[in-house]
Amino acid sequence: MQASFTVNGTVRSVDVPEDMPLLWILRDKIGLMGTKYGCGIAQCGACTVHLDGIAVRSCQVRAYELDGAEITTIEGLGTPDTPHPVQEAWIETQVAQCGYCQSGQIMQAVSMLSDNPSPSDDEIDDVMSGNLCRCGTYPRIREAVRLAIQKQGA
């Protein structure tokens, strides 16, 4: 099928099987490698992107859902010169260890702060528990979210 949608502000049109996951469209068809494959069954959150402004697991979004959609990936969040405040907070807190899950963590955190600019620690845990980190960086993730809240002026 032909699917036309926007990725990070650029209109894309791809010819793919209708049940192809968005994750593979992003990585294999469009060449955006920042979104990671972790489990393929929405158990880990590594592949989180924004679809029409909502955090979703891209391994579960199929091509037939994409026509007209607006997708944001980690590459579209900020730039190396002007990172998103959440990316700034992640860097200043030095959250990442191996880093593999962190693009999904950041995309989920941005979505959370968009909905709730000043979440409590419990609310941070409720939202971020779907994003696993085998390096165990959870304390620094929570610390970075708190810093991002300050940076965003909540």
Binding site: D19, G40, I41, A42, Q43, T48, I54, A55, V56, R57, Q60, V61, R62, Y64, E65, D115, E123, D125, D126, V127, S129, G130
Partner: protein
Amino acid sequence: MQSLFRIFMPVFVCILGTISWADGDTPATISAPAAGSVTPAEGLAAFDRVYEVVSHPRCANCHTGPDNVPMWYGDSAGPARPHGMNINAGQSRIGVETLICSSCHRTSADLRSAPHAPPRAGLDWQLAPVEFEWFGKTPAEICAQLSDPDRNGGRDWMGLAEHLVDDAGHFGFVLWGWNPGGGRDPAPYSLQAHVDDVLIWGVAGQPCPVDTN
């Protein structure tokens, strides 16, 4: 031959892994027994089967109480346990306060899913209204809830049967209960048998069992 095709076509399609039916058809039909034709004993027997369905994990796991926590398993996969990842659907019952259910459970008429992957349905994934708490409830408690319009969406027994057929017609959770994909145990009996049992129970006057303990 054409009628045979219409009868068996859904079976063939299910074998292929996709559920479909022709325009104008419905996934189940409503045909109530004549008034006065069902004894209270037959009505109670029908409710016993209704209870088997609504207390099955495919149904009860998302009919949980005011803690707003969906359940996993409770079938051949193992004992029931709270949904992993600390999931809480919030008072919205659809997760907007925390992580919206459709972040993982996509809305799609394609009910297929991989083992252990989040199932999908044609309606936005969500917990049932809290008044419909079925998980861990007794037959008498569930029968009382289903009989109470203040706690069942304002429905009489015919309204309950129509709700089942309407939800299934949208590839919703009712249809999913018998087509859960991913190697999950389906609800017992069939959608049509369940609709028929609700109608039998209704015509019998909605008799309810009495809890013995």
